[in-house]
Symmetry: C2
Subunit: 302 residues, 2 copies
């Protein structure tokens, strides 16, 4: 009975029009579990790092009751490293460096204690690794959510479609939904994607918010307009973490509760972009989250 | 005591990925007044057409109690004609033909009975013509809303800024808000634009909905995800017409009521795109509008 997250734990170097940072902890699993841990306490993480990964961050995970039995530490090897530079609009970005390092040979092995996971979040990694995680589960979880991207659709669409058959919720952006379905209209894209497996589709639109599709139901969740978007890195993962944390804590996967989950994800993502990397996520309190939730309600009230 | 609309009344030829139409009635004032007339009955229109303009459409205006004393009919001349072709994404479009015809010498003269207008909607025309309309008003209206576009900012920014000093509400798209303010963040753009005159800013984002900015308040209004967007022509004008119709009918320009007005505009725009030109607007009933409003509430509920 836990929320199992698979994804990367890594270092990022990020440059934005405002500032730059040479080395900050990043990776999808980092953002997902940090966000989820605000709502749900039984978080298990499956990932891999080198021996260069800071012990302080692992202690931070433990402080938040994030179990790291599944976080493999490879002695004498280096952690995954990504470096990117954002365009002036803070949406487009160029990847400058991708050093896979430990990720090149990553084999996501689930510790025995992880296999009865009730909730599973498959972060954006190779769809074959996502499938390998599903294959190790002891039973059928209440909810499996999967994040993926155009890169995997370009080079491994068959594998993406195989893993889609096994999941409940897919989260991708609008262009990826169009690529996956071959439909321009997001309503038609959702109908096509439901036939591939998922019961819910969450379309991430960055500054334009998100759309949650269920069978014959849609929820449009706004993004909070911000005076400054400092660093968008990890916002999509943080969004997913907020969603899964809310669902795991409430144990309710109705469409009505999924609306609240998507709103919770949007609240968490709005913090993520306020500082470099996960720095803002590391400092916010329950009170900050509640206040931001009130701001979202005011934004949507009519 | 009326809602005065100035804008174009024209013919359009439209091609979309779905279909094409050689000649359909269009123009900003057409869409604005057709939308507004569903909510408010004292609509006055200031525009110009040639003697080729169909009497049936003028009769349609009269059936909806739209006063056409200010609609100049130029004998022996042709109505304004625009022709455009939409890209596959139904957002981008290429203008194929712009025949100004009667619009080239348009002098917006307000009939005496129009001058005490309580509400004024300045559709997207030359900012000098918009100013000329304001100069003919007998007193200060309760609300003046203005629509403009990047074209006028490119060639007549000074005139745009002059007329902004005189208005209450500006409606433009996100890129135009950035161009006008020099700010990428829409929060900062709104603050800069408030210093130019308007008290409210409504940013149109097409399929991503709209943002209403007031002093320290924001409302995010969704767009209804549609399986088919048949023809986006006139959607922005229809949106503005719904807003002004709601405000004129309720007589309340509080931020709270402006939220409802923007939602009403979005409801009307969602109909506009369902058929070529204003065809869908000409057939919808009060019941259709109420049902669509319910769909929007379901879309936003949390």
């Amino acid at each position: 009975m836990s929320l199992l997250t698979v994804g990367t734990v890594a270092f990022d170097a990020i440059e934005t029009p405002y500032d730059k940072v040479d080395r900050v902890v990043g990776g999808s699993a980092t953002y997902i579990t940090l966000a989820a841990s605000n709502f749900y306490k039984k978080n298990n993480i499956v990932s891999v790092v080198g021996d260069d990964f800071p012990k302080e961050m692992i202690e931070e995970f433990h402080k938040r009751e994030i179990d790291t039995a599944g976080l493999q530490v490879k002695e004498g090897e280096k952690s995954f490293f990504w470096s990117g530079k954002y365009h002036d609009n803070m949406i487009g970005r160029d990847t400058l460096v991708t050093d896979l390092n430990v990720l090149a040979s990553f084999d996501p092995i689930l510790p025995e204690s992880y296999r009865d996971a009730k909730y599973v979040m498959l972060g954006n990694v190779d769809p074959n690794l996502q499938m390998k995680v599903i294959d190790q589960l002891a039973g059928k979880p209440d909810m499996i959510m999967l994040d993926t991207m155009n890169f995997w659709m370009d080079i491994a669409m068959d594998s993406v479609k195989e893993v889609l058959k096994k999941i409940d919720v897919l989260t991708i952006n609008d262009e990826e939904a169009r690529q996956l379905s071959g439909e321009h209209s997001l309503v038609k894209a959702a109908a096509a994607i439901f036939k591939m497996g998922p019961a819910y589709l969450i379309i991430k639109k960055g500054e334009h918010g998100a759309l949650l599709f269920g069978e014959n139901q849609i929820f449009s969740c706004p993004a909070l307009p911000l005076a400054e978007v400092f660093d968008p890195t990890g916002a999509g993962d943080t969004f997913a973490g907020g969603i899964m944390g809310h669902i795991a804590a409430s144990g309710d996967k109705s469409f009505k509760n999924m609306r609240k989950a998507v709103l919770t994800g949007s609240v968490m993502a709005s913090f993520c972009v306020e500082k470099f990397g996960p720095n803002r996520l590391l400092e916010i309190s329950k009170t900050d989250i509640d206040q931001r939730m009130e701001e979202f309600h005011a934004l949507m009230a009519v």
